[in-house]
Every structure is written in structure tokens, then in C-alpha cells.
């Protein structure tokens, strides 16, 4: 047995073995007797629907959760992981699904968080800290200033810091839980280079993603979990997209969308006129038609999120105006917009989406409580009925609508947040990365629901980094660069390349 206390990591193992690991939470069997092997120098993809148990498995490897039963081994040596420190000592490094950085610290401090360079008295060696970080970035090809504060970075930049941190040294196993969920294509390419690099250094990589095309680019092997159980394990060369999806969902899914032709002749429901905001939006104008899906594309920091927030009244606009429902607004807040029948789904689920002290039902009904009111009193029966309906519709994995939202898996939380707006009458919905972290089955459901609702007259502002979804759903695509709209494209008359070109403008 290898002691967890003080070990010099022996990178020369052949396989990280997970043997019959189980883990249950009250009311949920998150992992049920799962076994798998991750070989050194190989990328092992882990797939499964939301709530399948992927993150749970990772957290057990990381020492964040303790397993109920089972073993974890380097070849024949049992690992004794009691806490995150043990795991780090074994060289197991994790890029978590939710951003895990200290936002008041510099990039460099975050990278070396678990091992600050100090002298023997514990005094920080700042020069070494910055130099080592600089070197690391050069090595992995990221372009970040080691001294910038995390809070000043965009979500995707933050994700890059997380990735860099995991690979910096002493890694024997690198685990990535949906690392690309907020990266742009350009950055994803960089990440793949990093991963190839890691492979060459004989590091074992466990890679969790919902983006199926990625695994054919980098993975050597794929394991699928469903409901906490091991379903299949195949070499990448022996499988294909359809097979994997079938293993994951238990059926096949179809993801192409029909859009009505003459949508741009429909009446205008929102006119955004030359708005600017304190954070970066400059002179943006566009119209939105009834039933239209208006897609937005932009590279990291292009300002889509800021635009969404400015339109929704979260950020004050400093200039320009917005016309909805024949009202012209120069100064407005979120409740003005909600009252005008506009909804918003954030890209930052944990920070701005879920209300952690509330259960699933209460989270779902938050913006729509008025419709459940009898006089002044909330009719909880009505409320619960609506919640149950959407739990069923999106197959949210939960024992009941009364479960605390924080106990759901990331993707299931996202489904709740989507439902939050669909249970009320909406004219316009603003979607900022609505399918981030949502599994392929549910994603198709969410997207076809958006499509259906749009056909019934709902207008959609769609901000997504998933080019395929954008192309297949949008009636028009606006490309943003540096807070401005750089180009407008029409459905069917544009290629991926053209969009990219416009976005680097």
C-alpha cells in the first residue's frame, strides 16, 4: 500500500484502476459498482447523461468525496485518498466543472495555490512565482498575464488558468471535467495541443465532455456511464457517434431543425437602437422579429454576455434606447424587462443562476410567482404541478421537485434554469449558453423546444459557442467583435469560416 502522507509520485504506473467504486447520496445511488482503467499516456473519455455520476467519480478521485466501497489503484498499489491533499500528493490533478479559483488572487497565485514557492521560513518568493507561471504559459501556449487578477478575467480565461494549474507539475493523472464548456474553438485547439503534450509525458488523462465530436479528435478510449452504472467501454477506433449516444441515452437522437422561411417579414418585437454600456458595448443596434431566432457569435471577450445583460437591464445602458411593446426605454432594470415578457438564462449557472437555499420548485417558479398567486397567496399545488411537468419534460434527474437545487448535477440544474422561463408566458428569451453542460439528449430537447416555441411566436436571442447549434437554429447570425456588431449573416447563406473571419475583425 502506498502511504498518502509523503510520497514522491511514481509516474511509472501503467494504469490507474478504479475497482467497483460505489457512492450514494440520500435518495440517489450516484455510482453503482463502477470499474474502469485509465492507461498512462492515453486519453480516456468519460461520457454520460446529466447526473450519470461523472463528476462524482472525479470528486472521489480528487479526495473531495469519500467513496462508499471499492478501490483505486496505481497498477497493484492501492491508493489511500482521504482528502484532496492525499490526491494531490499522488499527482492527481483536476480541472473542475465549476470554476474553482480564488477571484481576488492573481493568476500566478492561483496556479501555484497548492504549492506556493517559498523559502524554508514560508516567505513567498514572488519572482519565482511569476517567472514559473510565465514559463508554464509559454510551454502550454496560453497567452495570459500572470499578474492579472482572476476577477478581471472572462470565464474562458479563467478556465484556461484552471487547465494550466492542473498540468503545472508532478501530475500523474489529469482529470478534466467539461474543460471546453466555455472555451472558444481557437482555445479548444490550444487545449488539445496541451493534452497531446501530456500524453507524450506519459500522463493518464480522464476527459469528461458532452461534446461528442471532441472525443474523436483526442480520445483513445471511451467509457459510458448511465444512472451511476458502467454501460460500455470501447476503443475509439471501434465505435462511432451513434453507438455512443445510444449507450448514453438508451436510444438515438436526431438533431436537425426546420425553420420557417419568411420569419424576417414578421413584425418587429424589439428594436435595440445604438445602445452602449459601461462595460464594453458600443453602439449596438438590431431588430428582433416575432418568432425569430437571432444568433450571436463572438470570440471570448467579444461582449455577447455584456450585450445580453445590457438588453435585459442588468447593466445600465449609458446611451441609446430599446423599444419593446411599443414602449421606449432609455433607463430600465431587469424587472422592467421581465414585465415586458422577456426572460434571460445566464452563462454563469452557479454564480447568477441557481438560488442555493431553495429547492427545485422554488428555483423554477422564481420569476413567475405572480401566475401561481390566488389573491396574495402562492398556490403551492399549482406551482408543484408546473414544476413536475417540466421535470418530466426534460427528464430532470431528481427524486422530487422538493429537492434542494444544489444537490442536482450541473446539467440538471441547467435544465431547471431553462424551465424557469418556459413555465411563464414569454415574448422574448435571451439565452446565454443555454446548453452549456447539458447532455446530448437533453440538449436536443432544449434546442427543439426552443425551435417549437419560436414557431409559436417566441423570439429568441441565442448566444452560444456551439457553432453547429448556432448554424442549425438561427434565422440570422450577428457576429460580435470588441463590443460591436461586425457582420450580419442569413440562414443557409453562411459557412463556419465566414463567421470566424468576421469574429476576428
Amino acid at each position: 500500500m502506498v502511504s498518502g502522507k509523503k510520497i514522491v509520485v511514481d509516474i511509472n504506473f501503467k494504469e490507474l484502476k478504479i475497482e467497483s467504486v460505489s457512492k450514494s447520496f440520500p435518495g440517489v445511488q450516484a455510482l453503482d459498482n463502477v470499474s474502469m482503467k485509465i492507461s498512462a499516456g492515453k486519453v480516456h473519455a468519460l461520457m454520460g447523461e446529466n447526473g450519470a455520476g461523472k463528476s462524482t467519480l472525479i470528486k472521489i478521485l480528487a479526495g473531495a468525496y469519500s467513496k462508499d466501497t471499492g478501490n483505486i489503484l496505481f497498477d497493484e498499489n492501492k491508493l489511500n485518498i482521504r482528502n484532496p491533499n492525499d490526491s494531490l500528493n499522488y499527482g492527481i490533478k483536476v480541472v473542475y466543472q465549476e470554476i474553482s479559483l480564488i477571484s481576488e488572487f492573481s493568476v500566478a497565485e492561483n496556479i501555484f495555490l497548492d504549492n506556493f514557492p517559498t523559502n524554508s521560513l514560508g516567505v513567498m518568493n514572488w519572482n519565482k512565482l511569476y517567472k514559473d507561471t510565465e514559463e508554464l504559459f509559454n510551454r502550454v501556449g496560453f497567452n495570459l498575464n500572470p499578474k492579472s487578477k482572476i476577477a478581471d478575467l472572462s470565464i474562458s480565461q479563467q478556465q484556461m488558468v484552471e487547465i494550466a494549474r492542473a498540468v503545472f507539475k508532478n501530475a500523474s493523472v489529469v482529470i478534466m471535467d467539461e474543460p471546453t464548456s466555455s472555451l472558444t474553438p481557437n482555445e479548444i485547439e490550444k487545449l488539445f495541443t496541451v493534452i497531446k503534450n501530456l500524453k507524450q509525458n506519459n500522463i493518464a488523462i480522464l476527459y469528461v465532455t458532452h461534446k461528442i465530436d471532441e472525443i474523436f479528435k483526442i480520445a483513445d478510449e471511451v467509457t459510458v456511464l448511465r444512472d451511476g452504472q458502467h454501460i460500455s467501454n470501447k476503443l475509439i477506433s471501434e465505435t462511432n457517434e451513434e453507438l455512443i449516444i445510444k449507450d448514453m441515452v438508451g436510444r438515438t437522437v436526431n438533431a436537425t431543425f426546420e425553420r420557417p422561411k419568411d420569419i424576417l417579414n414578421a413584425k418587429t418585437v424589439m428594436k435595440v437602437n445604438k445602445i452602449s454600456s459601461k462595460n464594453k458595448i458600443k453602439n449596438v443596434s438590431f431588430d428582433l422579429h416575432e418568432g425569430e431566432i437571432l444568433g450571436f457569435f463572438g470570440l471570448m471577450g467579444a461582449g455577447r454576455t455584456e450585450l445580453a445583460k445590457a438588453v435585459f437591464g442588468y447593466d445600465k445602458i449609458t446611451d441609446g434606447q430599446i423599444e419593446v411593446n411599443n414602449n421606449i426605454y432609455k433607463s430600465f432594470n431587469t424587472s422592467t424587462m421581465v414585465n415586458n415578457g422577456i426572460g434571460y438564462i445566464t452563462e454563469d449557472r452557479k454564480g447568477e443562476g441557481i438560488v442555493k437555499d431553495m429547492n427545485l420548485r422554488e428555483n423554477m417558479s422564481l420569476p413567475s410567482l405572480k401566475i401561481f398567486e390566488d389573491l396574495f397567496i402562492i398556490n403551492q399545488k399549482k406551482e408543484k404541478k408546473a414544476a413536475d411537468e417540466y421535470i418530466k419534460k426534460f427528464s430532470v434527474k431528481t427524486p422530487s421537485s422538493e429537492r434542494l437545487i444544489t444537490l442536482l448535477s450541473g446539467g440538471n440544474q441547467q435544465k431547471v434554469l431553462v424551465s424557469r422561463w418556459l413555465i411563464r408566458e414569454l415574448k422574448i428569451i435571451i439565452l446565454d449558453e443555454p446548453t452549456r453542460g447539458v447532455d446530448i439528449g437533453a440538449k436536443t430537447e432544449v434546442l427543439s423546444l426552443i425551435n417549437d416555441l419560436a414557431k409559436q411566436g417566441l423570439s429568441v436571442l441565442l448566444m452560444t459557442s456551439e457553432m453547429n447549434d448556432l448554424l442549425s437554429l438561427s434565422d440570422r447570425i450577428l457576429v460580435m467583435a470588441d463590443g460591436k456588431i461586425s457582420k450580419e449573416f442569413y440562414r443557409g447563406k453562411v459557412t463556419q469560416e465566414e463567421i470566424f473571419k468576421a469574429s476576428v475583425n
Partner: protein
């Protein structure tokens, strides 16, 4: 019983145990006078605690309630003395409380000052300016019987302060548990960004929370003035700590998001019965500090254990 949450059952059990213990020790505990005395002194705390529960639920706190309360006793006595009209006295009080609540709320929302600090500052300002208003205590020279009735009278053999409290209570139970406003307050306390992005006007409800609390302080302050028959600066010393301790004991979280009026009421009753028991048992009054200290820590500790066990 269905509406009791588990935490509240624990407090309720504690309360029953206390009562049984005290009544064995001193049968006087159940005398009608004693029950009146406990309930009367609980009422002023409860009335303010309703507001404080809302504030803590929405992630804010008001430390200025004690200072405001003593200011209210001075204003109400002075204005009624001068005008001879209770209505004018009440108008002055509630006008003033409204103003203070608004200032607290606006300093919190517009200047974005943490409410602990904003209301600490307000406490200093009120403590200082009450003396600027009147150096001396203000005695009842109007001698209007109705005014004495507010704090000292009985209605159907129930002390008036209790009647007033019972009159206000249902409103807050319903507000927090069964209306959308209750949900708004807790979502603002739990995740202000999520609340704002759900179309809730956080600032409006925060200001409302401060205003409600201040107005309730007005009610309690008038009762206190009637009870003391005096407008007394420096009264209600340490009142804010008692209110906050009771609300926390009742299971409301200081970090916002969770609050219960029933818990608050139980918390206050427990603290007040301990106070009362210490006098009944003729134990040194110093224990009026020590025992609640232990109870507070223990109650929250057991609540934590329970939550851990139930997942």
C-alpha cells in the same frame, strides 16, 4: 404541526422542557401575572424581530433598532406632550421611522455600504442626535389615559402589547411563508444576482425591508414609552443584540436565504423565559447573560448536527 420545520420542533421541545422545569421549581411560573409579564416583555422584542427576520433573510441586518427605539420613546412623549394628540404623536413617530428606514435602505443600496456598517453608523448617529434633540428625559405630562393603555392596559385580560403583537404576527407569517415577497426576500439573500436576473428589483425590496423594520421599531418604541411613562434616551440599550440573537436562535441564517417567523417567536420566548426563570429562581442575574450564550451556541450546534444527519 405540519408547518413546523424540524428546527422549530427542537426549539419547541426546548421551550416545553424549560417550562416544565421552571414550573416544578416554582409554581408561580404559571401564575397569570407571570405569563403576562413574560409575554409583555417578549412582545416588544417580537415586533421588531419580525422585521429583523425579513432583513436577515434578505441578507441584511439592522443594528440601529435599539438606538431608534429609544429615540422613538422621546419623540412620541414629546410630541404628545406638546400637541396633546396621540395621533400626531404616532404620525411623528412613524414619519421619523420611515425616514430612518429609508436612509438605512438607501445607504445600503445606493451607496452600497454593507448594512452591518451602515446601520452601525446609523446607531451612532441616532445615539448622538437623540441628545441633540433633547438633553433630558421627557416625562408624561399629557396624562392621556389611552396612551398609558397602549403599554399598560389589558384587552380581554391580555396585555395590550401582546394584543398588538398578535395583531401584527399573522401578517408576517403569511408574508414570509405564503407570498411571493417572502420568496423574493430569501432569493435576494441567497443569490442576489440570480434574483436580479429573475426580474426582481433587489434594491426596492431591500429598502422595503429596512423601512418595515424601522416602522416596527416605531410600534415597539411607542409601547415602551407607554410602559415607562417616559421618553428616555439611552433606553433599550443592547436591544439590537437581543433581537438578533433571538432571530438567529430561531434558525434564521445570518448569511441570508433562510428565515422563519415561528422560529423567531420560539427563540424570543426561550430567551425571555430564561430571563424570567432566573429571577423566579433568585439565581444571580449575571446568568441572564451566560445562559442565553450557551443556549444560542447549543441550539445552532444541534441544528447543524440534525441537518448533517438528514443530508
Amino acid at each position: 404541526m405540519k408547518y413546523f420545520q424540524t428546527n422549530e420542533s427542537i426549539l419547541f421541545g426546548l421551550l416545553v422542557l424549560l417550562c416544565i422545569f421552571l414550573s416544578f421549581y416554582n409554581p408561580q411560573f404559571y401564575s397569570i401575572q407571570n405569563i403576562h409579564s413574560i409575554l409583555r416583555s417578549s412582545s416588544t422584542v417580537m415586533i421588531v424581530a419580525f422585521g429583523m427576520t425579513i432583513l436577515l433573510t434578505s441578507g441584511e441586518v439592522d443594528l440601529s433598532v435599539g438606538a431608534l427605539m429609544s429615540f422613538v420613546t422621546v419623540i412620541v412623549m414629546d410630541v404628545i406632550n406638546i400637541t396633546g394628540s396621540i395621533s400626531l404623536g404616532l404620525i411623528a413617530v412613524f414619519g421619523f421611522c420611515l425616514l430612518i428606514g429609508l436612509i438605512n435602505g438607501l445607504v445600503r443600496t445606493v451607496l452600497n455600504v454593507n448594512s452591518l456598517i451602515a446601520t452601525l453608523a446609523m446607531m451612532l448617529i441616532l445615539q448622538g442626535s437623540v441628545y441633540v434633540y433633547s438633553m433630558a428625559a421627557i416625562y408624561n405630562t399629557h396624562l392621556i389615559p389611552l396612551f398609558s393603555f397602549i403599554g399598560q392596559g389589558f384587552f380581554l385580560n391580555i396585555p395590550m402589547p401582546v394584543v398588538i403583537m398578535l395583531f401584527i404576527l399573522p401578517f408576517f407569517v403569511v408574508l414570509l411563508n405564503y407570498t411571493r415577497y417572502g420568496r423574493y426576500f430569501s432569493s435576494i439573500g441567497s443569490n442576489p444576482d440570480a434574483a436580479k436576473l429573475s426580474g426582481i428589483n433587489n434594491n426596492r425590496y431591500k429598502v422595503l425591508g429596512f423601512v418595515i423594520t424601522s416602522l416596527l421599531v416605531g410600534v415597539s418604541g411607542v409601547i415602551l414609552a407607554s410602559l415607562m411613562d417616559t421618553g428616555q434616551q439611552g433606553s433599550a440599550k443592547g436591544f439590537e443584540l437581543i433581537v438578533i440573537a433571538a432571530v438567529l436562535l430561531g434558525g434564521t441564517s445570518f448569511m441570508g436565504g433562510k428565515g422563519t417567523i415561528i422560529g423567531t417567536i420560539l427563540g424570543i420566548l426561550i430567551l425571555k423565559i430564561i430571563d424570567n426563570g432566573i429571577i423566579l429562581m433568585r439565581i444571580p442575574q449575571e446568568f441572564q447573560l451566560i445562559v442565553p450564550g450557551f443556549i444560542l451556541i447549543l441550539a445552532v450546534y444541534f441544528d447543524g448536527i440534525r441537518k448533517k444527519n438528514s443530508g
